[in-house]
């Protein structure tokens, strides 16, 4: 049983309320943090090796230390709770069941960063969670954790919840800031980065919900102790939201030393695939990361067992690997059609593109239409190459990572499942009624022996 840092108290009855949370040891980290200097807290987070849990995996301590600190200019901490990545629902769980954990983490982080006013930007679809958070903030305020002169330290802190209007793009940090300012949620052109010019042109740090929640155990147990959990640069625990064709979908906290195979098939976690079906493919980190066929998912191209951590999941780059992403673990069994799956994702990115820069605005719609054409049995061979060319021209040429996020799933699907696309083209009638099936996607991969 892996050690749980975030969810160990999640099942205590009434943990959502302040009294129970406090009784279970809540807000200890704030008391401890106030005995440290802000610089020491940042150092502790650096030591912990915590990486951003939102998807990119950038070291949090490093991000905090980049924050510009000009005299007389306020600084802001913004919590990115605009969790919209298909397949990811870990933040929702955290905020819905243990809202005080996030608030506690935000008080510590705000103290470390010198932010007197912080925001939780939550997606509009999580309407009821915004209410839960606001209740929790009120409770924290009544008990003196939020407000003026907290615990007599002289630190003033206000926390606000801002509801988004339901746009995936507002999960991109600069678009989130624009939206928070009351503008249209278009990503900004970087540089300047938010650490220098963010919210209202002031230095700003934007962190994911899980990242800020993880600050609590880091302060409680110490950065070094936190860094001992996990392997290599994947320290601490990570929430995985598992879904798709598995027996036990849900949120799992893992310590990143478990293999992908164990994660899918062990009873402690996903509990295998229902109805005796076989594993075909998996998107291991939320819809934008490359999809992997069963064989490459379980073993890397080098023939090693693939583990559930940042390094191992990205082993082999995009050619044979994928990414940890935000931990949205989507499992597909042999009955799933990769073309249809890719089309669904392309439709999502088409719908969510902000329309600011041309490659993403025009390219995402084009990709969706071609995929729809192939899916409905009207595709031609040249369409597959065309798709490849379009995704190549979107990737890296856009303002924000949404372009990349739209391009990668299409690229990976064609890279690993090209024969399924070709089968769709060659069997225009059959593909409407039948499935391509598993075929060779779970066959052991040939590993070249090096002398």
């Amino acid at each position: 049983m892996a050690k749980k840092l975030l969810l160990d108290k999640a099942h205590v009855p009434g943990i959502r309320s302040y009294e129970v949370y406090r009784k279970e040891g809540g807000y200890r980290s704030v008391e401890k943090a106030f005995r440290l200097t802000p610089a020491e807290i940042v150092e502790e987070v650096k030591l912990s090796g915590l990486r951003g849990r939102g998807g990119a995996g950038f070291p949090t301590g490093m991000k905090w230390s980049f924050l510009a600190k000009p005299e007389g200019v306020p600084r802001y901490l913004v919590c990115n709770a605009d969790e919209s990545e298909p397949g990811t629902f870990k933040d929702r769980y955290l905020m819905e069941f243990i809202p005080h954990l996030l608030i506690e983490g935000m008080i510590v982080a705000s103290f470390a960063l010198g932010s007197n006013v912080s925001y939780i930007y939550i997606r509009g679809e999580y309407a009821w969670i915004a209410d839960i958070l606001e209740n929790a903030i009120d409770e924290a305020k009544q008990n003196g954790w939020v407000g003026k002169n907290i615990l007599g330290t002289g630190f003033n802190f206000e926390l606000y919840v801002q509801r988004g209007a339901g746009a995936y793009i507002c999960g991109e940090e600069t678009a989130l800031i624009e939206s928070l300012e009351g503008k249209r949620g278009n990503p900004r052109i970087k540089p300047p980065f938010p650490a220098v010019k963010g919210l209202w042109d002031c230095p700003t740090v934007v962190n994911n919900v899980e990242t800020l929640a993880a600050v609590v155990p880091i302060i409680n147990e110490g950065g070094e102790a936190y860094a001992k959990i996990g392997v290599g640069k994947s320290t601490g625990t990570k929430l995985i939201s598992a879904c798709g064709n598995i027996n036990k979908p849900g949120i799992y906290e893992i310590d990143m030393t478990i293999s992908v195979e164990d994660f899918i098939f062990s009873d402690e976690y996903c509990g295998g695939i229902p109805n005796g079906k076989r594993l075909k493919a998996c998107i291991p980190g939320g819809s934008s990361v490359p999809i992997l066929p069963a064989n490459l998912l379980l073993t890397t191209a080098k023939g090693e067992k693939r583990m559930m951590n940042y390094e191992s999941l990205s082993d082999g780059g995009f050619a044979t690997g994928s990414m940890m992403g935000s931990g949205g673990f989507i499992v597909l069994d042999e009955d799933q059609c990769i073309v249809r799956n890719t089309m669904t994702l392309a439709r999502f990115y088409h719908h969510e593109s902000c329309g600011q820069c041309s490659p993403c605005r025009e390219g995402t719609g084009w990709m969706e239409r071609i995929l729809k054409k192939i899916e409905s049995g009207k595709g031609e061979m040249k369409d597959i190459d065309l798709l490849w060319d379009i995704q190549r021209k979107i990737e890296g040429n856009t303002i924000c990572p949404l372009g990349d996020a739209a391009a990668w799933p299409v690229a990976a699907a064609i890279r690993h499942f090209r024969d399924e696309f070709e089968w769709h083209v060659q069997h225009p009638d059959k593909c409407l009624t039948e499935n391509f099936g598993l075929r060779h996607y779970a066959d052991p991969i040939h590993v070249a022996v090096t002398a």
């Binding site: 041309s358 490659p359 390219g363 890296g396 040429n397």
Partner: protein
């Protein structure tokens, strides 16, 4: 010297130039000029915050600076990237850039209607130029194109959203030139459109500048719509004393004969309005839409039209008439008529109208 401006050395396509710190790569390339300057569809130097959206100006940074000579991992938008000392930029010398730019041009033309023959912007359209210089001969897009209803946004400006490439320039004009913006972007992604709140009329003394900044034919001048092709009109620089605060009064009149077909701001070689005393030469709607008589204006002379416009083709500037050489070779004598061909042959008799002959002309047709 304390007020000395720091200059950076930047190399673009193997040409090195010194530019003040803070200059963007695009503006440095424009100082070099010619093909080195990347095309720009959304960037407009006179509009703060513009640029970065169309991605046509992407360039490769082969070396970040002297201090940190690592190349940048991605292509960067040259309009929003400032130069560093010792930066090495590749524009037309980079295959990656050419490939990406061809992609962007294809994306921009994906949903753009090819209605150039009936579009007022034709001849001075930046997308036409871009497609001609960097585009492919055909499209690979085989789905219905996105269309919008034409929208009427006031007495002077016609919005034809189908042609829009969403450069956002017109919204910056409204933000920065007028007190109140009543139009903006609605919806998102592919369906994003420029519009006003509930088809409200855009009514402001400087709203007409939206037409000038629009790189395509999405915003056109209603007083000029379908009146003429720009290449048939003759542009002349003119000015008048304008009472509107903020209007520079310096314009280009587009004439045919004595008739003023339209009035626009004066543009530089990059298609942007010219600056006067450091300020952009925006003009007011009175100058643009109401002063349509030559007597309203003091004409300065023929406008020098920018480098890549068909308007400049074979017109006015640098026009050289071929020399009449017959008299010269004959020592000043006029040529002598030896015979009139029509005295000898009835074929091609000028009295017979070819257009009245049914079918091709034969010798039979000319027999009286």
């Amino acid at each position: 010297m304390a007020d000395e401006i720091k200059t950076f050395k930047v190399t673009i396509d193997n040409i090195t130039i010194d530019v003040p710190a803070g200059t963007t790569v695009l503006n440095a390339a424009r100082q070099i000029g010619g093909d080195v300057a990347p095309p720009a569809m959304c960037y407009y130097s006179k509009l703060q915050g513009s640029g970065g959206k169309c991605r046509t100006c992407l360039v490769e940074v082969a070396a970040g600076s002297t201090a940190d000579p690592r190349p940048m991992p991605k292509l960067v938008a040259s309009c929003r990237t400032t130069v560093m000392d010792g930066m090495v930029v590749k524009n037309i010398t980079s295959e990656k850039v050419k490939d990406a730019r061809a992609g962007v041009v294809e994306f921009l033309l994906l949903n753009h209607p090819l209605d150039c023959p009936i579009c007022d912007q034709a001849g001075e359209c930046h997308l036409q130029d871009l497609g001609y210089e960097h585009g492919k001969e055909g499209t690979r897009y085989e789905f219905p194109r996105r269309t919008f209803e034409k929208e009427d946004i006031g007495p002077y400006i016609q919005l034809h959203m189908t042609r829009c490439i969403l450069c956002y320039r017109c919204t910056y004009v409204a933000d920065q030139l007028t007190d109140k913006r009543v139009h903006g972007i609605l919806d998102r992604g592919e369906h994003a459109e420029i519009s006003t709140y509930i088809s409200k009329a855009v009514d402001n003394e400087f709203s007409g500048n939206m037409i000038d900044v629009c790189p395509v034919g999405a915003l056109t001048d209603k007083t000029f719509r379908f009146k003429n092709r720009v290449w048939f009109t003759k542009p002349v620089d003119a000015h008048r004393t304008c009472d509107t605060p903020g209007c520079c009064g310096n314009t280009t009149l587009w004439l045919r004969g004595e008739e003023v077909f339209r009035v626009t701001a004066r543009k530089d070689e990059w298609g942007e309005v010219k600056s006067y005393e450091g300020k952009p030469g925006w003009i007011c709607n009175t100058c643009r839409f109401d002063k349509k008589k030559t007597s309203d204006w003091t004409i300065e002379g023929v406008t020098k039209v920018n480098r890549h416009s068909v308007i400049s083709q074979g017109k006015y500037e640098g026009l050289v008439m071929p020399k009449e050489t017959v008299q010269e070779v004959m020592g000043g004598r006029a040529p002598k008529l030896l015979m009139n061909i029509h005295d000898e042959s009835e074929v091609n008799d000028p009295k017979i109208q070819l257009s009245e002959i049914n079918g091709p002309a034969h010798a039979e047709n000319f027999k009286n």
